[in-house]
């Protein structure tokens, strides 16, 4: 069929509309504005060399460091590796040797060019054992002692950021923002503690890097406060004193009830118990089995944590391993009581209770510890939870505890590396040291650790954030990256489609 010829009048109309000045509705982002962000973390460091794997502060550290530093490669929400400072990469058949071509013309915020030597120097001290990096022309060469098919996942997450250490110890980055000079933290002072409950929380100020290789960010500035008590963060958001705040798990319900826009990640923080090998009771396999069967994880998640957590039977969450559903731990009081009955009288409460210590601070850990003690008591095992005044890892009784309640926050997209680090932190012995690149190997290792019952997963919690209605293009990843360089603020009075109670963006 032939289409009718379009008249010249229509073209005249067309030209009028093509050059109309109205925006393509609000799809076109707006430049400008200051985003005020509040973190709950008591300490913040943007120096990746100082970060402790698995710590709760890791998330806040990484989110701020990602404003100033770039990675070689990133992962989008569709599972694709996206070039960042590296434009292309290749590896040998093994794959043990990886080669990355560095993007040309990228400049640090002081105007000097990024070189492969800079990138190699930054990454070398951060890489796991068995991976070495060197500069070769405009390339980076990674040489691994074992096959590393997960090197891209590794470099796209965690602490693997590129920076240059200045003569005075401060760090320079190529990222979308620069840390303001007056708040710039030097190497020695990169970690600034903010005292609990202090009235004036500490601040960082970031300014848009106009010369960023990936384009100027939309926001002019980001003002960051940390050490904010959870309730105050929520009130600040509601009162318009902040646009983005970290929310504590026990504050999410209140936020939802207040019609606050809430973002939720995939489960990222595991709370688990571990037996202390140095204590004699830890050697009793039957005791460990009894305790495991007495734990009511479902109630911990649904009642104690008000459905803001998931019961955990695995070390790695399902979204990261893909096989966590194979692990089941159901509460079985009858079986637990049978096993308890067969235990010698001097074990688990006969002469002295199992001493439980929380290695992580906060009310949540204390509540979980108390719940563990209650569950254990139901099967006749005496567990002594930490007192309200002294429950942290630095208490004088720390070394004597039989059981430890610890938290582990996932920070890497390489499940093998994450499992290795987690197992190390939980003092679990692994068979295939250095060989966790295939799911079969990871599953076998994780299964072995869990069957020993020296480590007992309890619950897994997501990260939460509250967002003001004018925060647009919030495209945080399910694994917790905030991607603030792509966020923009809608001007007052122009808000459309900002649904109050659901933050979109994290689509795995």
């Amino acid at each position: 069929m032939r289409w009718p010829v379009v008249s010249k009048r229509l073209f005249a109309l067309l030209s009028i509309f093509i050059f109309a000045t109205a925006a393509f509705c609000s799809t076109k982002p707006r430049y400008g504005g200051t985003l005020r962000v509040e973190f709950l973390a008591q300490t913040i460091s943007i120096d990746p060399r100082t970060w402790k794997a698995g710590s709760r502060e890791f998330a806040a550290n990484e989110r701020l460091a990602a404003l100033v530093f770039d990675r070689l490669v990133s992962v989008d929400n569709y599972g694709r590796f996206v070039p960042q400072l590296a434009t292309e990469w290749s590896h040998d058949v093994a794959p043990r040797r990886w080669q990355f071509a560095l993007r040309e013309g990228v400049k640090f915020s002081d105007g000097t060019l990024l070189t492969s030597a800079d990138a190699a120097a930054a990454l070398a001290p951060l890489l796991p054992e068995g991976v070495q990096v060197s500069a070769s022309g405009g390339n980076l060469i990674f040489q691994c002692t074992e096959p590393r098919p997960d090197l891209l996942e590794l470099l796209a997450s965690g602490r693997f950021l590129v920076f240059r250490v200045q003569g005075d110890g401060s760090l320079l980055g190529t990222g979308p923002f620069t840390l303001d000079v007056n708040t710039k933290l030097e190497k020695s002072a990169a970690e600034v503690p903010a005292a609990v409950g202090m009235s004036t929380p500490a601040n960082f100020h970031f300014t848009a890097n106009d010369a960023c290789w990936a384009g100027r960010p939309f926001l002019d500035k980001i003002e960051v406060s940390y050490g904010i008590p959870p309730l105050r963060a929520l009130f600040d958001l509601q009162a318009g004193r902040a646009e983005l705040v970290e929310l504590a798990a026990d504050g999410v319900r209140r936020a939802n009830q207040s019609n606050v826009r809430v973002w939720t990640s995939s489960p990222l923080t595991l709370y688990a118990l571990r037996f202390d090998d140095a204590q004699p009771q830890a050697a009793n396999q039957q005791l460990r089995e009894t305790l495991t069967l007495s734990l009511d994880r479902a109630t911990m998640a649904s009642v104690l944590l008000q459905k803001q957590a998931e019961p955990a039977a695995a070390l790695l969450p399902q979204w990261l391993s893909g096989y966590a559903f194979l692990f089941h731990v159901e509460m079985d009081l009858e079986r637990a009581k049978q096993l308890r009955g067969a235990l010698p009288a001097n074990v688990a409460g006969g002469t002295s209770p199992l001493r439980l210590q929380t290695d992580v601070g906060g009310d949540l850990a204390r509540l979980l510890a108390e719940r563990v003690a209650v569950n254990a008591r139901q099967t006749g095992i005496a567990v002594q939870p930490p007192s309200k005044v002294a429950h942290s890892g630095d208490s004088p009784t720390a070394e004597k505890a039989d059981l430890h309640l610890f938290a582990w926050r996932i920070s890497m997209l390489s499940p093998g590396e994450e499992l290795r680090m987690l197992a190390k932190a939980a003092h679990a012995v692994m068979n295939a040291e250095g060989k966790l690149s295939e799911p079969d190997q990871r599953y076998a290792e994780e299964k072995k650790i869990l069957e020993e019952r020296k480590v007992m997963p309890l619950v897994a919690l997501p990260d939460y954030a509250g967002l003001a209605a004018n925060v647009r293009d919030w495209q945080a990843s399910p694994w917790g990256e905030w991607r603030l360089a792509d966020v923009w603020l809608e001007s007052p009075g122009a808000q459309k489609n900002a649904s109050p109670a659901a933050a979109s963006g994290a689509r795995p």
């Binding site: 393509f24 569709y78 939309f218 489609n497």
Partner: protein
């Protein structure tokens, strides 16, 4: 020409060595999902007792498109049948079950083999990057769309140009760093020109790039970036001719009905990059608030609307939120509805 037996055997040895090397290399390179799934089935079947009647319970936890999942299931079952004799696809009480799960970068296949009280697990993992996308959903009656092109790399604008007088249809795609012209060949789009943008490359985060095309000058196009305007020839690789300009951003495009030649204004309802847009049809007006008379959902935020056929059909670029691909649609008005 005669050869001594020793030389002949040496040559035969070299030939077989080379042949086996090629065979191994080809095997190593067969990195396809189907290959991994067949290998998984092979490992399962090695543990499956001979002549054991079995079926496969296959569960795709929204990890891959269902059609593709069924394709992989067929490959798995076929491989299992080949080795185990009489396996059958089905559900119910199966000795073999396979679960498909998605992680940030991979699809993990977990096969469970249950023999008596014993369970064995086998795994395979493939990259998520190579997964085919779901097909597009249905359109609403008034506006019609046809998917022309899909790619992972960012598209700023695209124009579909209908070939006149026997010429092939063309698709002009503007990326951040290149202008690419495709020509429709039987069954596929074929690249006929890739023109690097050079200094005109878009480095802004809010990358703006619009193609302006006139049917009267089919070999020329104007490309408008933020702060500059460039003229380019579409039939050769000559460099673009750019100059500073401050042209306003396009807000939509006229669309003319083939049925009654009536002109409409095609626009987006305008969310941000996290939510799907709707294409809206409104009466042409200088008022932004003119009510929509028809609308059509698209699978993500609308990046651009332009026209390469006068305004008989429009071309829309959409970022598909489900797949992460940029998709180019041809938009037209349907008659009679």
């Amino acid at each position: 020409m005669s050869q001594t037996p020793a030389r002949l055997s040496t040559r035969i040895a070299i030939f077989w060595t080379f042949f086996l090397f090629l065979l191994r290399t080809a095997e190593a390179r067969d990195n396809s999902a189907e290959h991994h799934v067949r290998e998984l089935a092979h490992r399962v079947s090695a543990e499956l007792p001979r002549n054991k009647m079995s079926c496969v319970a296959w569960t795709n936890h929204e990890a891959v498109p269902e059609a593709w999942s069924q394709q992989l299931k067929s490959a798995f079952v076929e491989e299992l049948q080949g080795k185990a004799g009489d396996s059958a696809a089905g559900t119910g009480n199966c000795a073999v079950s396979v679960e498909l799960e998605k992680t940030p970068t991979q699809i993990v296949f977990t096969a469970e083999l249950e023999i008596g009280a014993e369970k064995q697990h086998f795994f395979a993992a493939i990259s998520r990057a190579g997964i085919p996308a779901e097909s597009a959903g249905p359109a609403t009656p008034r506006l019609e769309r046809e998917l022309l092109w899909r790619q992972g790399e960012r598209i700023l604008d695209a124009i579909f140009v209908r070939g006149e007088n026997g010429a092939a249809n063309r698709l002009i795609v503007l990326q951040k760093d290149a202008l690419v012209v495709y020509e429709r060949q039987p069954g596929e789009w074929k690249t006929v020109l890739t023109k690097p943008l050079g200094e005109a490359s878009v480095t802004q985060r809010a990358s703006r790039g619009e193609i302006y095309f006139s049917v009267e000058q089919p070999d020329r196009a104007k490309i408008v970036f933020a702060g500059k305007s460039c003229q380019t020839n579409l039939s050769d690789a000559s460099a673009m001719n750019c100059q500073a300009s401050s042209e306003a951003a396009r807000t939509g495009m006229l669309l003319v009905s083939a049925c009654d030649s009536r002109a409409w204004w095609l626009r987006s309802d305008g969310g941000d990059m996290t939510m799907p847009d709707h294409l809206e049809l409104a009466i042409p007006s200088t008022q932004k608030t003119e009510a929509a008379v028809a609308e059509m959902a698209v699978p993500g935020p609308l990046i651009s609307i332009s026209s390469g056929e006068g305004v008989r059909t429009d071309t829309a670029v959409v970022f598909n939120l489900a797949t992460g691909n940029y998709e180019v649609y041809r938009i037209a008005l349907a008659c009679g509805q």
